[in-house]
């Protein structure tokens, strides 16, 4: 027999029942934890179980930590949901970062220039409208280029991020308090003008409620509305969309207005509801993390609750161990990286299986 015979080959699977695919994912997480444990023991000599314990402590260690975990999760979830309609349309919007930033910038501008000059309710309304508007415009510009001249949206949305960052940097200097500090400081600290209201006495609840409402609406919008149907058709085949008389340009622009606008809402929450200040890094790269959240969930809004939770949990846990054990942030990043590697890698085994060759009779 020829020696070149391959030992195994790769076969595409049929669609797996949900419990099997989730079983594979669960196995992946267990394997990831084992690998993390081995690496932790080898490199730091720490007991891996203690490290895992700290991981969980970081996310759920106290009531306040649970709330912060959920709050962070909500913001990430909103950004992920915002990107999803664009992704479903195969419009690779990686400009979430910039769209959130301009939303945040618009919010801060309203708070600073209009704070205490008009009634608070009106101020919050204006903040909301401007944040949505700013995000939408940031989404609209690449959409127009794509729709009219078929430019590459990945590049244009990415470049819009840098413009947004520079704009925020510029206004940080304009608004800096005290002069020379290069920071804006807490806006309207004494009057709390433009601070988003607390729900039931909790300052954490508002973003969570907004995120949940957005999740349900986005799910319904994508799955049951005519718009959602159009988005899927345009994403799958622009030619087919034209063939049935859909106006693809209009659909691309409309969807990006929605995507950018919703990112703007995330900006509003970041400035008006959580930080009450603005910096160029206020969004800490979540515009990009959200891309992963959305993809991992296969663009399903409901699944995104879990994937955004996973990412935030890893982030918070990693932060905790780096402070608790005196390890630096990089070590935490290594662990996060290993876990994500396994989670993303296991998708291969959900779509394909490896088959050893059966020998023919001799």
């Amino acid at each position: 027999m020829n020696k070149k015979e391959p030992l195994f080959h790769i076969v595409k699977r049929d669609v797996l029942p949900w419990y099997k695919s989730w079983g594979i994912r669960a196995i992946a997480i267990v394997v990831a934890l084992i690998v993390c444990g081995i690496i932790t023991t080898i490199t730091t000599g720490l007991n891996p179980f203690k490290v895992y314990g700290a991981f969980i402590q970081g996310a759920f260690g106290s009531g306040r930590k649970v709330w912060i975990t959920m709050q962070n999760m909500s913001v990430l979830l909103i950004i992920s949901l915002a990107l999803t309609p664009a992704f479903k349309m195969r419009f690779w919007n990686i400009g979430g970062e910039g769209q959130v930033l301009v939303g945040a910038l618009a919010t801060a501008a309203c708070m600073i220039t209009l704070g205490d000059k008009i009634p608070n309710a009106l101020l919050i309304l204006i903040m909301t409208v401007s944040a949505i508007l700013a995000g939408s415009i940031w989404g609209l510009i690449p959409a127009i280029f794509k729709a009219k001249w078929n430019t590459n949206e990945t590049l244009s949305t990415l470049m819009m991020n840098y413009i947004a960052t520079q704009l925020v940097a510029f206004f940080t200097i304009v608004w800096e308090v005290p002069k020379g500090s290069f920071t804006v400081g807490i806006i309207n600290q004494s009057t709390n003008a433009g601070w988003l209201p607390q729900l039931f006495g909790s300052k954490y609840l508002l973003p969570i409620v907004i995120a949940l409402l957005t999740t349900v609406s986005m799910f319904v919008y994508l799955k049951y509305s005519k718009h959602g149907y159009e988005i899927s058709v345009v994403g799958e085949s622009e030619k087919t969309a034209k063939y049935v008389g859909m106006k693809t340009e209009k659909i691309i622009i409309r969807t990006m207005l929605l995507s950018g606008g919703l990112c703007g809402v995330a900006g509003l929450i970041l400035v008006g509801g959580i930080n009450h200040t603005i910096t160029t890094t206020i969004n800490s790269g979540q515009g990009f993390t959200a891309v992963m959240v959305s993809w991992l969930a296969k663009f399903n809004p409901i699944t995104m609750i879990f994937t955004s939770f996973l990412i935030i949990f890893l982030e918070r846990g990693a932060g905790e161990i780096s402070t608790n054990f005196g390890l630096n942030q990089s070590f935490a990043d290594i662990l996060t990286g290993i876990i994500l590697f396994f989670i993303i890698g296991c998708e291969f085994f959900i779509s394909y299986r490896i088959v050893l060759r059966k020998k023919g009779d001799k």
Binding site: D14, S232, V233, T240, Y243, K247, G360
Partner: protein, 519 residues
Amino acid sequence: MAEAAVKLVNISKSFGQVKANSNVSLEINKGEILALLGENGSGKTTLMNMLSGIYYPDEGQIFIDGKEVSISSPKIAYELGIGMVHQHFKLVDVLTATENIILGLDGKLNKKEAAAKIKEICDKYGFDINPDQKIYDMSVSQKQTVEIVKVLYRGANILILDEPTAVLTPQESEKLFNVMRNMKADGKALVIITHKMHEVESISDRVAILRKGEYVGSMMTKDTNAGEMTDMMVGRSVSLNIERPKPVDPKPRIRVEGLTVKNIEGIDKLKDVSFTACSGEILGIAGISGSGQKELLEAIAGLQPAESGSIKYINENGEEEELLGKDPRKIEELGVALSFVPEDRLGMGLVGNMDLSDNMMLRSFRKGKSPFTERKSPHSLAEKVVDDLEVVTPSIETPVRRLSGGNVQKILVGREIAHAPTVLLTAYAVRGLDINSSYTIYDLINQQKKKGVAVIFVGEDLDVLLEISDKILVLCGGRVSGIVDAEKTDKNTVGLMMTKVLNDSDKKEESTETGDSDE
């Protein structure tokens, strides 16, 4: 009996749950042309792909010249002297024929030597190509020739041709067959995959038949006939007649005048095309592929802007509507029930990743004022199409790309005729379909004709065009080279018209003639 060049023993291959081939044993002899027959999805191409190293069998053995081999890559297949010409050409457009042929070969690059060797091969078998011509300058048949020469250049003794005539005119096919006979005389083993029975009868020595991935049997071509072969492929008796009912009360329905369409580079794709399509008639459109058929249908469907001319829709009461310059949605809003079965089913017409029901919805989703889609009626339409047209599908919720070509086409045609069209445009309605599905589609088209629909049928198989059409419009390089009565013409005349435009006076006569008969 001739010596076996290739022996396949108990070959099996599965894709997921689908068994593409199961326990196939087959011999291919030297100096013989074997026609491999089977319906769509019967595993012909899969089997040949395993021979050419694209797939690797799950089970079974392959013997070349009596020695067991393991073909794990196309490169090894070449080393073993196996070459395959695929349905879709694999050539680099901006390179010359020579460059394409030597692409990917080891050793020193010597174009002159290569060109000389190519010339030698061409002379030996009667090919006609210019080694220095760029691929983008070539016609489809020239490109195919390059593919065949490429395979021979690499020393192939076993040639596999996957539906080589699908893109050729009858004259070009005949030329290819002559070359194939020369190769056979040279002792090469040839396998041809085709759906056209008359070709099987004229070119092959032996036929082997696959059904649902299994080997059914083989026989000498001279001892069998089209009917028997078809029955074996399908597994039951099938009738092979296309009916042509007399048109009932034909009235002009679509009138195209002086239609000129340019492509993005400003080259004429259609030049001054005029004709009338009548209700209750099938107007066949013949032409070498790329002669403007696509542009013509798309212009009528509102998908292709035109330079000049007009396309008039004439309704039951004789009122005329201009269709040119309107998009499909506007045409629909005018109350024109126009159905279009485009050439590229999954690229345009259907959405591969969506299920049957969602694909049905493409035509109806806009109905009603609610912002939400109504899913019950598309679902029941999908069920109806599946029942009526005997679509083989695991369920209504299966993405259409997982279905075989014939079933995909049935879904598309089923949807398009479901909204009671008055005009039906079809482009290569049976391309890639097996004989059984093809006849189902012809039947469906004839039913529409009987209902008084004006059918415009773009086809590639002239035998079929001559059988099914009432009139045939022949396109050549975007011009109308004539409109002929299908009953009074023959294959050769139409074949010739496909390659040259008759001179102007002839053309005028032709078109006035048909113009008169329309009235």
